[in-house]
Symmetry: C3
Subunit: 387 residues, 3 copies
């Protein structure tokens, strides 16, 4: 963990006028900049100026944690307007033995085992690439607090990479024991796309869940875990020796949209609808995980459905019920005690939540039961208290 | 099992003239109709009349086992010709504690283990969807009776669903022990298509056999076991807890051809050639199962074929023998004791019967032997008495 | 093994003039021809003459080991020029209990376990289909002699089929114990193509290596092990009961190029560049096998790369290093002790040698280690002395 960085002020003056001032926009200063107080020619200042020629109004967001450096980020338009002359550059900053701040919310469930959600909190001023993750996870925490949850939930808000590494260093053992499935949630506020990245080998319950939840979403983008796709805290959560069942959920993924890591990633980019859809996806993640048990038919052979009101009595009375009957018949056929809800949804090619709804009807009719799940490399669940 | 239904007579009279009479065509009455004897207006009769508007000459075939109902099935043309007025409707039927009749043929083989074939016998007047299955399985039984069979054979003729459920309730235990591979045989009389449906997970010997037998057939249609594809006794034979190694074999599958479940599914639909081709497919099913052993080469390395007359001595004398030599060489290469005949046919991409013929030559030449097969989830055979 | 064949002379004379003489080109005589000394009409001689009508200047190469026969091979042009008349045909040859000569080179390595290379030496006059394999394997032997090899190497030069069968009959047991991976090397002198044939089931280390080595090569041709693709000593090395981990490496494969088995397969067909490229491929085969260990990261989670000089300190300094950083990051992510170098190359989709180079940097930085490999069906290596 690097030292804590404190910035008092940072500006560039010319002829006594502050032409760049971090007090106006804290993107103007390269994060972790070393102190400087000097007067220099524009030519000497240029190597310390950063702008995006292709996006002349954007102030880029840059930091340098591990290499002593100083610099200012400005729009390319402003940079071009700078005239030769003497510039007074001042950065009053210091590094000191401070502390690393992270947030953690724990919501108890009927089981000790946990769902896990993580987002980062270290990107100043970013909307989609920062605020959206916090907002959606706060809403999720609020929703979870109002309901009877099967699993306990752990939500963390950490400085990217450094924070998750620090958090893991204290909690890895219990997390490996408790976490059933998790998501890194980032860039979830816009409406332009849906995207996900699997865990390292793509074979955990979280991977099956994220695919199910995003099945059929418009403009769905799949990323592999290979560098440089990965770029947030999954870099820690999924590495060898950690190997938590954690996938990543995005709308427009970091690094792939034009406003990324500039001042243009502002609140105009994220929408109530984008945030709400992302929140709904996370609710599905929770609900499907809760409903994901092994199902087993009670009968040997095909049970009589008509007398239980689950099947029309005459062949002429099927109209409009075909889809429901198919779900019933196919759940009964494949619920042999070896397939969980997600398997069944994949075999039947129907949404897991719809399968869960119909499975509930069959459980209520005494035709199906949820059975104990052995812990497996796919992070199956060990006990099924109820269906 | 529902009660037995006896129909004495069923007709609709107008002005003393019988305009619909089950004595003329037993499709006219909805199977299992409750008794009625009443005079009513056409408007009141209409809900009890069934016809197919799109196929105005067809009398539909309908029954209602589990919901008390009565009705008549007529051609749409006749229905349209009915004039307003008073109709005398009479159905003299009764339900009583009767019996369920099914047929069973058992043909002994050198082994106790069995091949299994099933067709249904409850569809009145249907040709492809009824008679064809009975005819082809009777021919198969006759053929099996004339030969020295490796496996014993069990052929059942049952009322659909109810009959197979009843039969399973008495024989499931022995069937699970004895049956090596089986087929539901239905709709096998026309020449328009070939089709098959695998067992529930598609991983039994029956599944491998039906695919091999129908390989390369024209207009081959593959159905999954998912509802509503399945629709006959495989609904019982393949369900969880039963799980017999049973696939389904069709020509034009039930539910997929225009004459299905109407009076148009008559003898004009099925042909001697259609029935004979289906019979040949079933013979292949038997013959390939009998020949399906693990093969193992006797030699280490490639044996000398020339001195055994299996390979031309000079490179200039191959003409016309290339295919036979390829079969010989590839059987020898892959017969390592881990592949059975069906595996070899798939690896070599040649028909199993052709592989069996060449394997026989190699066995006779002392180059190959059939070896004991362990029982496996693919329903491998436990003992190989001869090749 | 057939008897040894000695040819003293073989010619066809007409009017005292030798019009065909094996002394001019030993392709003129069918290999293993029986002795003959007779005067006959052209019509009687014709069945003993062989030429290629489609390639009128080519003298075909034919032999007949197992069927007593005699004959001459000539260009079709010369054959057409032969006029009716009396021909004196003389073949002075004899069969006797001789010996079978083969060559064997053994180069010791730090390990007893071996790499294996085989080529055939029985094709008179052939350039690509004979000399190329000998030349490239001699160069490989020379190169191996100058370096510190991890594995010992066994290179054999055998008469095709008969020689490898004889060699196996004496060495099979030790070869099965010692050989880690091997190649049949044949037809490796031209520049027209690259090709390979896997072992019988395509699942040995040799198969993984040959695919890696030829990855991305222009005009790459993949052959299955099925007859008639296979045609050289892999017919012995990979048969049931032998099952050595041996794949085949070609440029233009035997049987697939127009000059094959005729006098046109001469030195004009093979080029220094073609031979050198093949030699390089074999060197890669050796080097990758040596580098193929399981890799395991030392850290839990993602290690700090910047302070080790493996990662640029600021996001602005990545230019040109993206590819190297991706290799580093992806090796670290997937080096979990279950993947060897070839697995890693496949996961990361990068050349194995490049992965090996970067892995070496990471090993030197203390971030990665090569770990012991269990012997597996893929012929993994049992001990890893160094990375």
């Amino acid at each position: 963990v690097p030292k804590e960085w404190l910035l008092n002020e940072a500006y560039i003056e010319k002829d006594g006028r502050r032409i760049v001032d971090a007090a106006n926009n804290n993107l103007h200063i390269i994060g972790y900049s070393a102190p400087v107080d000097a007067v220099m020619d524009l030519a000497d200042l240029q190597p310390h100026l950063h702008s995006v020629e292709a996006s002349p109004d954007a102030i880029p967001y840059i930091n340098s944690y591990y290499r002593p450096e100083w610099g200012f980020c400005i729009s390319h338009r402003d940079r071009m307007a700078m005239e030769p002359g003497r510039y007074h550059v001042r950065i009053d900053s210091k590094l000191f033995d401070g502390s690393l701040t992270y947030g953690e919310i724990k919501i108890p469930g009927r089981e000790k085992r946990e769902l896990f959600f993580s987002t980062y909190v270290c990107h100043p001023n970013m909307a989609n690439d920062q605020v959206s993750g916090i907002v959606v996870l706060m809403a999720l925490a609020e929703w979870l607090s109002t309901r009877d949850n099967r699993y306990s939930t752990r939500i963390v808000f950490v400085p990217e990479m450094i924070g998750s590494a620090a958090y893991l260093s204290r909690h890895l053992r219990e997390m490996r024991e408790l976490i059933v499935a998790g998501l890194v949630v980032a860039c979830v506020g816009d409406e332009r796309a849906y995207g996900y990245m699997p865990s390292r080998h793509g074979n955990t319950l979280a991977d099956r869940l994220i695919k199910e939840i995003l099945r059929g979403k418009p403009n769905l983008q799949r990323f592999s875990y290979l560098w440089p796709n990965r770029g947030a805290d999954e870099r820690n959560y999924c590495m060898p020796g950690v190997d938590l069942p954690v996938a990543s959920f995005f709308r427009s993924k970091y690094g792939t949209y034009p406003e990324y890591h500039t001042s243009l990633d502002d609140l105009s980019l994220i929408t109530p609808c984008g945030l709400a859809d992302s929140f709904d996806a996370l609710k599905s993640f929770v609900e499907i995980t809760e409903a994901n048990v092994l199902f087993k038919t009670a009968a040997v052979g095909e049970p009589m459905l008509g007398k239980r009101g689950l099947y029309p009595a005459a062949l002429t009375h099927h109209a409009g019920l075909e889809h429901e009957i198919s779900l019933i018949m196919n759940l009964l056929a494949y619920a042999d005690g070896t397939h969980d809800l997600l398997d069944l949804a994949e075999i039947i090619d129907a949404p897991a939540m719809e399968c869960a709804r119909v499975a509930k009807k069959l459980v209520d009719a005494g035709l199906l039961s949820g059975v104990g799940l052995a812990a497996t490399p796919r992070h199956y669940l060990a006990v099924v208290p109820e269906c």
